[in-house]
Symmetry: C2
Subunit: 430 residues, 2 copies
């Protein structure tokens, strides 16, 4: 070979060491088990969608964060979330699906952002959504929030969900007479965590929002606590949509409690930027680590697939940025590399490779993760390899052992060593 190309991967793309990959996959499997228990169906849509589909919302404008490419007559983009593909899928199959359609999807999404801490270009996400046909019970909003709690439980995370409503936000903005500035006000209030109350006040005033209204909006966004907060909210505003929003939240809390949910609070400071949310909205945070940002978010939307279908398909969904969550847990020292995947390293001593392979197959058949150190290396260096890889047992198969139908098992933690029959050895390593 004349020239060696420096091996490197794309910046910001996801790639773990196998030892960490094992831990990450265990995390995914645990999350899956929760979705399955809640009877959500798996969906695995393509990584690419036609640009016309993926960019329907923006009228075909390509966001600079989207990976788009044209190949022959195909104009396609890498998906940036699971919502548009879900809408496309539901619209394509609306006549055969059972509604409410409960699906989860776990996979990679793509955003061509400048890679930085916490922002990857390729990242894993998991979503669960319930899509109704015409109507959808608020029990589903509660279930999506309960999914978080069950996931916190299987992942042993100390976390909680903060719940709010787009209806209350819209209601209070309307009552104050700023309905036409709703989006702008929402964007500003969304920054309260980052910028603080004072700065938010300044920004609202710059929008020509009157001082009294500013104060009211800030008071609203600061309301936070147990469900008693909902009654306090009713003192703040009597507007119809606002009251409807509060009553919906009361109903969601009631359902959630019926399900045994308790890891949640009401926080009207949760705004959710996306304009497609129309009711309940929520974000999940690690307790005491709110400054790290939300690890998941979701909410209720009135129209899932309005770009692709004339059918009224309301939905509610929850999402977790699992790559992000993994990064956070890792940087907090809460992820340790997996234990050795190999339980027994079988080391042939002398001319016993065939017998070692046979013993290995026998152990594997019994469910033991066994492998033969078959390479031409010294016994000593093989023992060292087993030690460095933290393999708990070594099975040494010398010619004498083979003759006696025995094997020497060494416990690498205690250095204890015994020569045993194959069956006795199996019992120890199993």
């Amino acid at each position: 070979m004349d020239k060696i190309i420096v091996p490197r991967k794309l910046q910001g793309f996801w790639e773990l060491s196998p030892e960490k990959e094992i831990v990450f996959e265990e995390m995914i499997d645990k999350i899956k088990s929760v979705f399955k228990k809640h009877c959500f169906l798996p969906l695995d849509t393509p990584v690419m969608e036609l640009s016309e589909i993926l960019l329907a919302k923006s009228g075909g404008d390509v966001d600079k964060e989207i990976y788009r490419f044209v190949k022959g007559s195909t104009d396609a983009c890498l998906r940036y979330d699971f919502t548009v593909p879900l809408a496309r899928y539901v619209a394509m199959n609306e006549n055969t699906l059972n509604f409410p359609f409960k699906r989860y999807q776990i996979g990679k999404n793509y955003r061509g952002e400048r890679p930085q801490k916490g922002r990857r270009r390729e990242f894993y996400q998991c979503d669960a959504d319930v899509v109704g046909d015409g109507k959808l019970s608020l029990a589903n909003d509660a279930e999506c929030i309960k999914l978080y709690e069950d996931i916190f439980s299987v992942l042993e995370l100390d976390a909680e969900v903060e719940i709010s409503s787009r209806k209350t936000l819209f209601g209070i903005v309307k009552a104050l007479g700023y309905e036409n500035m709703f989006s702008d006000i929402a964007i500003i209030l969304d920054k309260m965590d980052k910028l603080g109350e004072k700065e938010i006040g300044v920004m609202l005033k710059e929008l020509q929002v009157k001082e009294e209204a500013c104060n009211k909006l800030v008071s609203y966004a600061k309301l936070r606590g147990g469900k008693e907060v909902l009654d306090k909210a009713l003192l703040l505003c009597e507007e119809q949509t606002f009251v409807e929003g509060v009553n919906e939240l009361k109903q969601v809390c009631e359902y959630l409690e019926a399900m045994g949910g308790e890891k949640y609070i009401i926080n009207f400071g949760i705004i959710r930027g996306h304009n497609y949310y129309t009711g309940t909205v929520f974000e999940a945070f690690l307790k005491g680590k709110r400054n790290l940002g939300a690890i998941g978010a979701g909410g209720r939307y009135d129209e899932l697939a309005s770009y692709f279908s004339s059918r009224h398909l309301p939905g509610v969904g929850m999402s977790i940025g699992i790559s992000r969550l993994f990064d956070i847990l890792e940087s907090e020292g809460l992820i340790s590399e997996s234990e050795a995947i190999t339980t027994v390293a079988i080391i042939p001593l002398g001319n016993t490779l065939n017998e070692s392979l046979g013993l290995c197959a026998k152990m594997q058949k019994e469910g033991v993760k066994a492998e033969v150190f078959a390479e031409e290396k010294s016994f000593k260096s093989k023992m060292k390899d087993a030690g460095r890889r933290n393999i708990p047992y070594v099975a040494i198969l010398g010619e004498d052992e083979v003759k006696a139908n025995k094997v020497t098992i060494k416990n690498m933690n205690t250095s204890e060593q015994q020569t045993l029959s194959y069956d006795e050895a199996l019992k120890i390593v199993r």
Copy 2:
């Protein structure tokens, strides 16, 4: 909404119905369990690689089948297999990996071919490879073949592996004096299955291969059977590389038998087009369905990462086209849709939604896949939904039942119906 965009997905891209997705994921989980038992580590490389890396072999020429795109200063391609990403990964981490490095990868690959039966643009593949540092025992070739056999077993497939060698092929071509036409001859012999012996003879003659040599090559490629075929092969040619290849195959068979392997034959008609194979090569076929083509293939290569590293890294790997395998099994009627994911549908009757949600959470906590039919629909239509979805149990929670702390469980198969305490109900559905 003014205009509705017809919802559609990219042609040739992978998307199963959730009912089939469940079956497909079970298939993947079973394959994973085999890799894990054999102590292979998981690797999950990015879907995209830098074009310079992915196209190293072709000197940067873009094959028309590859999805390539340029975004800002990034020139990247979607991966078309797992081998180049493995080479890149090993070269990047060669100083920290434990060799032999045994890794598996299961995921999507991309080829922009014209979609047709059996040829998708997005498809799942699984690969397992062992990469050595400098040298690599033939026991690893045997293990890769044994992986197939163990996978056939967990997937309950009647299949076998056909084994050959690039060394014997090279040896016989060299002995006949056509060393400089090796690639052309290999390409022709590879078509024997499709075109038949006679046509192959004609094509070889067109290459100016003499009749006697043609006959010898055809005799060679027709050699097929148990390992006794290896002794027959030695009568055909005495060339050094040829004999070395036969002896290696004998060794691989010996190791394979030591592992208990029996689902294999020798078939010198297995050629493997890729020039990077340098020793053992193999393909896996469903028995009696050889006409459907190989469901997997692999072999030994001398240099994994020569484009990215000066280190000598020989390897051996096996691969299964799992999307293709799934398609074949489906078209052969060997895939049935999953049973209902939901075990119990809880139907509130009257004002009992809270209690239904509570019962559901209780059942889920005990590992039962339960869901509440919470929508505002008639009891009758909910019973019908449960029936259409083949849900085995319905739990009916009326106001009387709630008062008595009981629930009515209906077995949808037998139509048997009992009113029971929650704990008794749990016992039945669990």
